[in-house]
Amino acid sequence: MRSLITTFLVFSTAISVMASEIHAPAQITAGKAITLQTSGSGDATFYLIGPAVASKSKVQAGGDIPIDSDRLEHAGRYVAILCASDGCTATNFFVSPAAANRLSFLVHPSRIPVGTSQGISAVAIVRDNFQNLVLKPEPVTFSIMAKDEKPVSAARNSENAFAWVRLTSARKEGPTKLGASIGHADEVRVVQQVAADACNLRIKASRDKHGFLIETDPVHDCSGNPVPDGTVVSFTESDSAGKTTVDVPIKRGVAKVDMPIDGRATITVASGVVTGNALEVSGGQ
């Protein structure tokens, strides 16, 4: 009888020491409301601490505690604490990202010379509707929409929320659209493919009223793309009177300059690090 009484006292004491408890669901997704179950009785204070939330509220121990969806938008570790008159108890739970539905699409560079091997990098960062990184592999569809050509697409699985491709720029200058899509997200970026360095830079001279008109042939790169207007072409004329240099931007595909030349002169041309032909001309009074 004595041992029975002792057992009863220990058991009842244990129940009173166990006090309140709090339980979270096993699977929680960002942006979804949940209910935490508690045990115990009486007035209690509930604390919720998460990656972007910290709140305190009065609850009844033993009842359910609803947590609104807007307090669970950020994926990560949360701590729920219930403090009643008999002490505090806590539980940790993890909120997983929702379904992949957004992309941050980084394309670099925004301008690239034609024919640059593996020169374009396109990186898609997979997110859910609440900007959480979706870490499990998800298929991202990359597409290339070149001007006057059929779109080409390929899928890449993301790794830790990142999916990427490297591309070689086309042989023809002009804008190319690069796209990436997943879920409802469809992002497009534009890469301007520009002519590479001038190739076979050539000049010709003709007499005009000021002396000589020195003019380049239409300036193209080695793939035949016109070098953009505004690109600087440097003309250098050397004669017995000294040297004349002038940096002229290409206008309508050619660069030209008037040079007064007296006597024999050599004219050379360059654009950036590319040099062209040299001309020997002879001017007179």
């Binding site: 941050s104 980084l106 970026r189 009177a241 000294g242 940096d247 931007p249 206008k251």
Partner: protein
């Protein structure tokens, strides 16, 4: 006591007036008023120019009938926002070149203090004896001026629209331009270490470029840092090449183990206009015996260039950049009117110069 204070104040005022008179060169002017030598006449004239007394200076000219007073004043006050409009004549040195009974020649070296640093000008003047006094024969500027007309300019202009503050993260921006250092050469000068070289804008858009250098010692520690400041053409059009120079005053080459170069480029709005032609470039010796690169700048467009800035790179026989020098031109560039320039270079370097490349930078009140 009531009488003493006004007397003291009057004496102090008198002393201050006398001091101010001495300070402003009153004694010198007084002496020069009565001077009868050619160099004294020039000295007097420039003394009056220095104190902005252009009427009196103009009165000292022998050929007033040929020289317009406004044009004479503009030679020292500047025009069109040129460098001289942001300058004052700080001092001058006069030295006789040739002295005759009726005609002499005098060299005057003018030292201006400008917003961009000191500026020197050398003028050789003829002085004529007229009666008892010597008068300065001022060279007549018959520079051609383009008649009023409309010049159609249709060079490219680049404007930039960047990413907005409200755009989402990851939205594409216009990339900064690709620029590259083509060469770098470290030179030990008597009082400094100088880094010279060239930079090219490899992109198809304009770039605002600046080159910096960090010196490292044997332990790999950084111990000095400088930038090219104004010894570079900052705004580079596509495929344009500019020289740069970075000075480390008081530095010795032995202390330097390594140099870390850093070129920064920004995408900027720019215009391909104005095109400035650099004519008749020659390496020669100036009247003061200095080695200089001379030439003429001609603005091919229709826009006035307020402050031209000439930067020259000098190469040895192997095509290596061995020096970079620069200089501001005091006069503005009016459309199609040639303006002379001269930039100096050290004589020990001049003897190794095989070729050179000049670029012209410009600063305007109205940004292009």
């Amino acid at each position: 006591m009531n009488r003493l204070l006004p007397i003291i104040l009057a004496l102090v005022t008198l002393v201050l007036i006398i001091l101010a008179w001495f300070q402003s060169g009153g004694v010198e002017r007084r002496e020069l008023q009565s001077a009868s030598a050619p160099d004294k006449a020039v000295q007097l004239m420039f003394s009056q120019i220095k104190s902005h007394n252009y009427d009196a200076a103009y009165a000292r000219l022998a050929n007033r009938d040929d020289v317009d007073k406004t044009a004479f004043t503009r030679e020292f006050e500047g025009s069109y926002g040129s460098l001289l409009t942001y300058a004052s004549l700080e001092s001058f040195d006069v030295s006789p070149l040739h002295t005759g009974d009726q005609e002499s020649s005098v060299r005057v070296r003018l030292h201006y203090s400008t917003a961009l640093g000191p500026l020197d000008d050398v003028r050789d003047l003829k002085v004529q004896k007229m009666g008892d006094a010597w008068k300065v024969f001022w060279p007549v500027n018959n520079g051609t001026k383009l008649p009023p007309q409309v010049i159609a300019v249709n060079y490219l202009r680049w404007d930039v629209i960047g990413r907005g503050a409200g755009d989402d993260w990851g939205v594409q921006n216009a990339d900064t331009p690709q620029v590259r250092i083509l060469s770098m050469n470290a030179i030990q000068r008597p009082d400094s270490v100088v880094l010279v070289g060239e930079v090219v804008n490899e992109d198809s858009v304009p770039a605002f470029v600046n080159v910096g250098a960090t010196l490292l010692d044997a332990q790999g520690n950084e111990f000095a840092q400088e930038s090219s400041f104004d010894k570079i053409a900052h705004k580079l059009l596509p495929k344009q090449v500019t020289p740069y120079r970075i000075d480390f005053p008081g530095m010795r080459m032995e202390k330097i183990k390594n140099v870390r170069m850093d070129v920064k480029a920004l995408l900027v709005a720019a215009s391909a206009d104005p095109v400035i032609e650099v004519n008749q470039q020659k390496l020669e010796t100036d009247p003061l015996g200095k080695k200089v690169l001379t030439g003429e700048l001609t603005d091919e467009g229709g826009q006035v260039v307020d402050i031209p800035h000439v930067i020259a790179a000098y190469y040895d026989a192997n095509g290596k950049v061995i020096w970079v020098s620069d200089g501001y031109v005091a006069q503005p560039l009016l459309p199609q009117v040639p303006v002379p320039f001269a930039v100096d270079l050290p004589p020990d370097i001049a003897k190794n110069v095989h070729s050179y490349h000049v670029v012209v930078n410009h600063y305007d009140r109205v940004a292009s």
